[in-house]
């Protein structure tokens, strides 16, 4: 796969401006989540030794972390729904990834609603006519 210019080395990104609150689209361009928070590699808490490199983005997060970003506190890490940084194929006005949404935790509520509510109502699985 050819690299999209937006994900090549050398680009400068500001988190608030380019990443947080952007729409994430899966391999089929279906919206799957908004970027609610970002998970970074841990840095040793406290003092930072001279020469230590800055943390790296590991995952985009969506789901319960939105509530804590707005209202404070933090959910246990087991409830962070992740979109791994390595899946990203384009960082534009939307963020595109290379996987189908069904492979990811962030869509489990969507799938649950589909399987237990909407899919059970007659006509729910067909496109409108």
């Amino acid at each position: 796969m050819t690299k999209h210019a937006s994900v090549r080395a050398g680009r400068i990104l500001d988190a608030q401006l380019h990443l947080l609150d952007r729409q994430v689209l899966d391999a089929d361009r279906v919206p799957i989540a908004a970027v609610d928070d970002i998970e970074l590699t841990d840095i040793a808490s406290g003092d930072i030794a001279v020469g230590t490199e800055g943390p790296i983005i590991e995952n985009l997060l969506s789901g319960p972390v939105l509530a804590t970003r707005i209202f404070g506190g933090r959910p246990p890490a087991s409830r962070w729904h992740r979109v791994p940084w390595g899946l990203i194929t384009e960082l534009g006005t939307a963020i595109r990834i290379s996987a189908p949404g069904s492979d990811l935790d962030v869509t489990w509520v969507e799938r649950w609603m589909r399987d237990h509510v909407i899919g059970r109502i007659p006509g729910g699985r067909h496109a409108p006519e």
Binding site: M1, K3, V7, R8, A9, G10, R11, I12, L13, D14, A15, Q16, L17, L20, D37, I38, E39, L40, T41, D42, I43, S45, G46, D47, I48, V50, E53, G54, P55, I56, I57, L61, V65, T68, R69, R74, W85, G86, I88, T89, L91
Partner: protein
Amino acid sequence: MLLSDILGSAAFDGDGNRLGAVVDARFRLEGRTSPAQARMVALIISPRSTSSYLGYERKAASRPVILDRLLRWMHRGSYLVNWEDVAHIELHRVVLRPGFERRDAALEE
């Protein structure tokens, strides 16, 4: 670590003086992977407002002129601090090294 642990943190200089709040984090894409890795290279500190710039931190964004001026005025005095000048990070508190350098925060892109 969550990015939101850093964003909104109070920033202090080496002597314990409060400088303002961390309003954004700047990353640089690096390495040969696709996508390239995003490494944090700087923090943006605003002495006045923790609200969003609404996109007017970019040099290219300047219209409508009145909104551009208003947002820049609200964030006047904002500056960029390189990661090398960050001495200490804990929850909601960032301390800079003595003699840290204030750089222009505007984004060229």
